[in-house]
């Protein structure tokens, strides 16, 4: 390369370009440094606040796994399907049979499968309830359908609060009133679903094509008719896709809520890991893993059929 003498105009251009690049780099470096400082401060803080210190505990992290081995691999499957254990000594640890849920004299549902059914049902019911309410609310939050600013503002704030409200508080309040059970979990997950889906729904509605709506307006259709025949057909595939995505998230949410008093597999899991019941714990982990993978695959397949691949690029982080 040879140096070509630049014209004065190009010279100025180059100088400005270089100074901009420099500013940019300085900002980038400052930004990265700030994040790093925050990170180290946060890590120090976390380490100080924890009851076991990170570097003290790291070598022993897997000690608990070492003692956490079932007597033989088959034990896991015995625990999973409530089959009597040869190691049964009267303790809870090897007692797999007493929690069977009998349908008839001899036919039973294994306890963990039953708890899993409860958890999945909690998720499905809350998705249905939350999704329906979000469906009704979302049209009132969309700029292109509701002229009144106050209505829109209120509906959106309601959704925001529902989204941010800690689920355990709703669950805890209802647990105090209704005693421990799945209703608290359903209410907590449903309310959160209203907020999360409502936001995604109204954003879809706002991006809808308004031409069909205009057509209906020109023949004198009421607001309800316009929404029903112009907007809903356009947005329904996306709505269904988001709802399915939410159902996946809700299965996980209902597991966690279960662990803090909602019942279902989460509670059983917390108890079994807390009491060192190795075989039972592994059985639950496997069941949960299989269930979640199956549900993810199924809903992914359904979504791909409904809206094509674009469903995997939209609204990813709106959890």
């Amino acid at each position: 390369m040879t140096d070509v003498p630049l014209s004065p105009a190009s010279e100025t251009l180059l100088r400005h370009y270089r100074s901009q690049v420099l500013t940019r780099r300085v900002y980038s470096v400052i930004g990265v440094l700030l994040v790093l400082v925050a990170l180290f401060a946060a890590m120090n803080y976390a380490n100080a606040a924890n009851s076991g210190k990170f570097f003290d505990r790291i070598p022993y992290l897997f000690d608990f796994l070492k003692n956490f081995v079932p007597n033989d691999p088959l034990e896991i499957f015995r625990a999973m399907f409530d089959i009597e254990s040869p190691y049964y000594d009267g303790s809870l640890k090897y007692d797999y049979t007493s929690d069977r849920h009998y349908l008839t004299e001899s036919l039973y549902i294994p306890n963990f499968v039953y708890q899993l059914i409860i958890t999945v049902n909690i998720a499905v019911v809350s998705t249905i309830i939350g999704g329906s309410i979000a469906f009704c609310l979302c049209f009132f939050a969309a700029t292109n359908l509701v002229g009144a600013g106050a209505v829109r503002w209120i509906v959106r704030r309601i959704m925001e609060v529902l989204r941010a409200f800690p689920e355990i508080v709703i669950a805890g309040l209802l647990t105090a009133v209704l005693s421990i059970g799945p209703i608290a979990a359903i209410a907590a997950v449903s309310l959160h679903t209203i907020g999360a889906l409502g936001k995604l729904f109204f954003e879809v509605v706002e991006n809808a094509d308004m031409k069909p709506e205009e057509g209906l307006r020109s023949v004198g259709a009421t607001w309800l008719e316009r929404v029903r025949f112009a907007i809903v057909p356009q947005v329904l595939p996306n709505f269904v896709s988001y709802t399915l995505l939410r159902a996946e998230i809700n299965v996980r949410a209902s597991t966690i809520i279960g662990a803090v008093g909602g019942g279902g597999i989460g509670e059983v899991f917390r108890l079994s890991i807390g009491r060192d019941h190795a075989a039972k714990t592994y059985a639950i982990v496997i069941l949960l893993l299989v269930t979640i993978v199956c549900i993810d695959q199924f809903s992914g397949w359904l979504r791909r059929r409904l809206v094509g691949n674009q469903s995997f690029e939209l609204g990813r982080g709106a959890a």
Binding site: I118, A164, G317
Partner: protein
């Protein structure tokens, strides 16, 4: 409207058969779907036995719990001792020793007056008789050794319950008159002793006085007394909130840092090695599919309660989730820029650095910010499982069933933080990828 002739009708039917002869599913599919969903909900009603649970619910307590969110109760027992009325406070007493209480006035003859809102609603308490004033009208309740007895014709607010008399004053409170004591429950709006607890030397100063104190150079003392509030435990709650935020921040940041290089391995277009792609993607799926609850409980066993298990749980789940998202973004990049960089003889590392990273970086950062936001929320709940942080504090406060005001305080703190972070991350996202893209 003009009627359509028969010929016209059959012509239309022939021309657009798909409009007039729709399949069964197209016609009735929606209704069938709604019907099945309703059936399923009815099934669940019985499966979860919702009916009995709602019937057995302690709904009267629910009202009290909700009121406790925004108001507080003073509940002294006014005991009859040697002809005098002596107040006795529970351990959660909200008044300092010997403080003047404006609604509870002792008199020289040993009697006592408790007012509920106004002078029309009050109790004049002596050891032999309690004059209950409801809307200005006096109703003398006589106290004997057998119990307390309401007069004939007393209004509904005065209720004879066996050997005791219960007086209801609505929101302002209630009183239970027995043969040896009057248990008063007086309710006030707001949170009691939110600034200083009764043992603090600053007790009694309201917000206005506090501002004054700060400006007269007592800021240090105000802060330490406020943080040291024994009833509200501000210092502890704020520290726990900080732990929760740290969990979300460090967990997401680490997940981002680890998922970033791994996603390059997982992306088909970047690493032309099917086996590596496949392995990495299944690895992401595995991390993602193990529930955050499982990770949290596992690491709580490993590290003991505190923010580290929370960080680890978020880190492992989100490395999987972010890795998957990143790999998909990398597979969708525009190939032209890479070719351009490659055509001038750049090394593979430079191709990725200058041909790929500038395209995907804004998307990556925006996704990480989304995860950060949502993790701020989920860190609360993992904490409740045992990882520590404000979640555990919330669970403890709810467990006592009498600290609902503290629950409300923590909920407000969490809501405030979540809104703040929403706005911060929205602002960063808008600057990165333009306001239209999120």
């Amino acid at each position: 409207m003009t009627a359509i002739s028969l010929a016209e009708r059959s012509r239309l039917e022939k021309k657009y058969p798909e409009v007039f002869r729709q399949s069964f599913m197209r016609r009735w599919g929606l209704l069938v779907g709604i019907g099945l969903t309703l059936l399923y909900l009815v099934f669940c009603w019985f499966f979860f036995s919702v009916g009995p649970a709602l019937q057995n619910g302690k709904w009267d307590r629910a009202g009290i719990y909700i009121q406790d969110w925004y108001s507080w109760r003073a509940q002294p027992r006014l005991r009859f001792e040697d002809g005098a009325v002596v107040p006795q406070w529970s351990s959660r007493g909200q008044y300092a020793e010997g403080a003047d209480i404006d609604w509870l006035t002792p008199h020289d003859d040993g009697s006592m007056t408790a007012t509920f809102g106004s002078d029309d609603d009050r109790l004049d308490i002596t050891t032999s008789q309690v004059d209950v004033y409801v809307d200005g009208a006096p109703w003398p309740v006589t106290i004997t050794d057998d119990g307390a007895f309401a007069p004939e014709g007393a209004p509904a607010a005065i209720e004879q319950d066996g050997r005791k008399v219960v007086v209801h004053y609505g929101f302002a409170g209630q009183a239970e008159i027995r043969d040896n004591q009057v248990a008063v429950q007086r309710r006030f709006l707001g949170w009691a002793n939110f600034l200083y607890d009764p043992r603090s030397p600053l007790w009694g100063n309201d917000l206005f006085d506090t501002v004054g104190l700060i400006f007269t150079g007592h800021g240090q003392q105000v802060l330490s007394e406020w943080l040291g509030n024994r009833a509200w435990q501000h210092a502890d709650i704020l520290a726990k909130l900080m732990q929760t935020l740290v969990m979300a921040f460090v967990g997401t940041l680490f997940a981002t840092l680890v998922a970033f290089p791994l996603a390059f391995v997982a992306a088909r277009t970047i690493t032309p090695n099917r086996a590596a792609n496949w392995l990495m993607k299944r690895g992401f799926d595995f991390l993602r599919s193990i529930d955050m609850l499982i990770w949290a409980l596992f690491f709580t066993r490993g590290f003991g309660p505190g923010p580290i298990p929370g960080i680890a749980a978020i880190f492992f789940t989100d490395t999987g989730a972010l890795g998957k998202v990143y790999a998909e973004a990398l597979e969708n990049v525009d190939d032209k820029q890479r070719e351009g960089v490659k055509s001038v003889g750049a090394s593979p590392a430079s191709v990725n650095r200058f041909g790929v990273v500038p395209q995907v970086l804004p998307v990556f950062i925006s996704q990480s910010l989304y995860f950060w936001e949502s993790n701020t929320r989920s860190a609360t709940i993992i904490g409740a499982v045992g990882a520590g942080g404000i979640g555990l504090k919330l669970l403890e406060a709810m467990g006592t069933n009498s600290d609902w005001d503290k629950v409300a305080y923590m909920v407000l703190l969490i809501l405030g933080v979540v809104f703040l972070f929403d706005n911060v991350s929205n602002a960063i996202r808008s600057r990165l990828i333009g306001p239209a893209a999120h």
